[in-house]
């Protein structure tokens, strides 16, 4: 170390640096840089961090400052042109002056920011998001979902302070048809840098309980038209496009449609219009139901009337047929009866004639037979008389012969010859009519009848 060395105070050094820099960088420059952090302080001054990235690696970095009055002006300009406040993470075209301050060191003092460049950048982000979703075939993924017949269970992503939400709820709840919706609010930031992650977070929560919901709506409004570029955020748009329930948006603004609205199942200009759309779907369901009732009534009437007509026609037809049939039957019966009568008459006449003839025949025949028999009987009588006379003669001869024999056999003739007959009890005495000693026996002779008492009895030896 040398003894004659020159020693500077720190202030001398930094003052020298400042002087050198001031001399070297007298004018301002337009610089393209990403505002990594804004670092806005309550004082109104902002101390942004500026970086340049290449392949996501920071290749240059410097601190910057925007004084209060500059910040106010720049921000106002931004909001007017870009519809966005200054926000972190965007690439900006900055008008800067290189400054060196003795205590704060080197920094870039931001004098102005070109809002048109920022607008272009936003447009570029929008295009990029669209391009990416297109490449991933997600652009109309949500729109291809089936829309529920009745979107009555609604998951609402909004903020409870949002005027858009109250408009939306008013239309839904005060509908004069008494359609009932079930709604549940999932609170989220609706604009600015914080909106995209906040909405994505709520979509994830809804996904967990999606079986309880038919649709998701994102409603916003009344907060001015600033800070809506978040709805071009790729991550948010992807989350909406690929969500498994239809996502409906009613973000309420008049600028170009954001990508989120583009990929949503349906976009309404305002929350009120979105609520009207939901009511309309209820109408679309209700009207056919009412129509169905009318059609049912008229069709029923028509079917009944037709049946009635058919029935009465059929009845009439039946009556005619029956009458005709009866008439025909009656005529036919009359004819048959007439025929029968005639037939019967002729048959009767015929039979009577026949009978008459038969009677005559019978009479003739019987007369003939009678005559024949009478003749035959007369003949028999003659024969009989002849036979009788003949026979009588024979019988008389026999009789006189027998008379002689009888006369010869008469006991009187025997008795005359001296024989007698002894009887007991009127009967001849024989073995089976014996007389005992002491009995009275009768002895008949030709001239007498003697009664004696038996005193002796001897059996004939023969």
């Amino acid at each position: 170390m040398s003894e004659n060395r020159q020693i500077f105070s720190l202030q001398q050094v930094v003052s020298s640096i400042r002087k050198t820099i001031e001399e070297r960088y007298q004018s301002s420059y337009w610089v393209k840089a990403e505002m990594h952090k804004l670092n806005l302080y309550p004082s109104g001054h902002a101390f942004p961090e500026l970086v340049q990235k290449e392949n996501d690696k920071i290749v240059a970095q410097i601190n910057a400052s925007i004084w209060n009055h500059n910040f106010q002006r720049i921000n106002k300009q931004f909001i007017e042109v870009v519809k966005e406040p200054l926000k972190e993470g965007t690439t900006l075209l900055l008008n800067v002056k290189v400054v060196f301050h003795e205590t704060f060191g080197l920094s870039l003092q931001i004098l102005d920011i070109d809002p048109n460049y920022a607008l272009g950048e936003l447009q570029r982000e929008r295009e990029e998001t669209l391009k990416k979703l297109q490449a991933e075939r997600l652009i109309n993924a949500n729109q291809l979902l089936d829309f529920p017949l009745l979107p009555k269970r609604i998951a609402i992503i909004s903020a409870d302070t949002s005027k858009g939400l109250s408009d939306f709820m008013k239309v839904l709840n005060n509908n004069p048809w008494n359609y009932q919706f079930f709604t549940m609010l999932f609170q989220a930031y609706l604009q600015g840098d914080v909106a995209a992650p906040s909405i994505i977070e709520q979509l994830k929560r809804i996904e967990k309980v999606k079986q309880h919901f038919d649709v998701v709506v994102i409603v916003r409004g009344g907060g001015g038209e600033v800070g809506l570029s978040c709805y071009n955020n790729y991550e948010l748009c992807k989350a909406i496009a690929s969500f498994s329930l239809p996502v409906l948006t009613g973000i309420g603004h008049s600028t170009n449609m954001t990508v989120a609205e583009l990929v949503a199942f349906r976009n309404a200009i305002t929350p009120t219009e979105l609520a009207d759309f939901l009511l309309q779907t209820f109408h679309d369901f209700s009207v056919p139901v009412n129509d169905a009732r009318k059609v049912l009534c008229s069709s029923s009437d028509r079917i009944l009337e037709r049946a009635n007509q058919l029935f009465s026609a059929e009845t009439k037809h039946y009556k005619n047929s029956a009458t005709n049939y009866l008439l025909e039957s009656k005529n036919s019966l009359l004819l048959t009866s007439q025929q029968f009568k005639n037939e019967a008459k002729s048959l009767l006449a015929h039979n009577r004639e026949h009978l008459h003839f038969a009677q005559k025949e019978c009479s003739n025949y019987s007369n003939r037979l009678f005559k024949l028999n009478r003749e035959r009987i007369a003949e028999y009588v003659v024969q009989l008389q002849l036979k009788f006379i003949n026979r009588l003669g024979k019988e008389q001869q026999q009789l006189s012969e027998m008379e002689n024999m009888v006369r010869l056999m008469d006991p009187k003739n025997v008795l005359k010859r001296g024989y007698s007959i002894t009887t007991i009890n009127g009967q001849t005495i024989q073995k089976n009519n014996q007389a005992e000693i002491g009995d009275n026996i009768t002895t008949i002779t030709f001239d007498f009848e003697l009664t004696s008492t038996l005193i002796k009895k001897e059996e004939n030896g023969e």
Partner: protein, 65 residues
């Protein structure tokens, strides 16, 4: 989703009955039965329009779980 299936089914069945009636596909024999069924379906559909069945507490419990 159970509820939705029910009213979708109810609505479709109702539409079918109406179509059948308009096309004259329904006989007098079936008429009373069909009209009764249609009335039930209309009632179901109307109820769907004017009632809600979800339970916030249940959803919150599921969100926490």
């Amino acid at each position: 989703m159970e509820n939705e299936l029910n009213y979708t089914a109810a609505f479709e069945e109702l539409q079918q009955i109406v179509r059948d009636m308009e096309d004259g596909e329904i006989t007098v024999d079936e008429l009373a039965l069909k009209v009764k069924r249609a009335a039930e379906l209309i009632k179901i559909c109307k109820n769907k329009l004017t009632s809600t069945e979800e339970d916030v507490n249940l959803i919150l419990k599921e969100l926490e779980g």
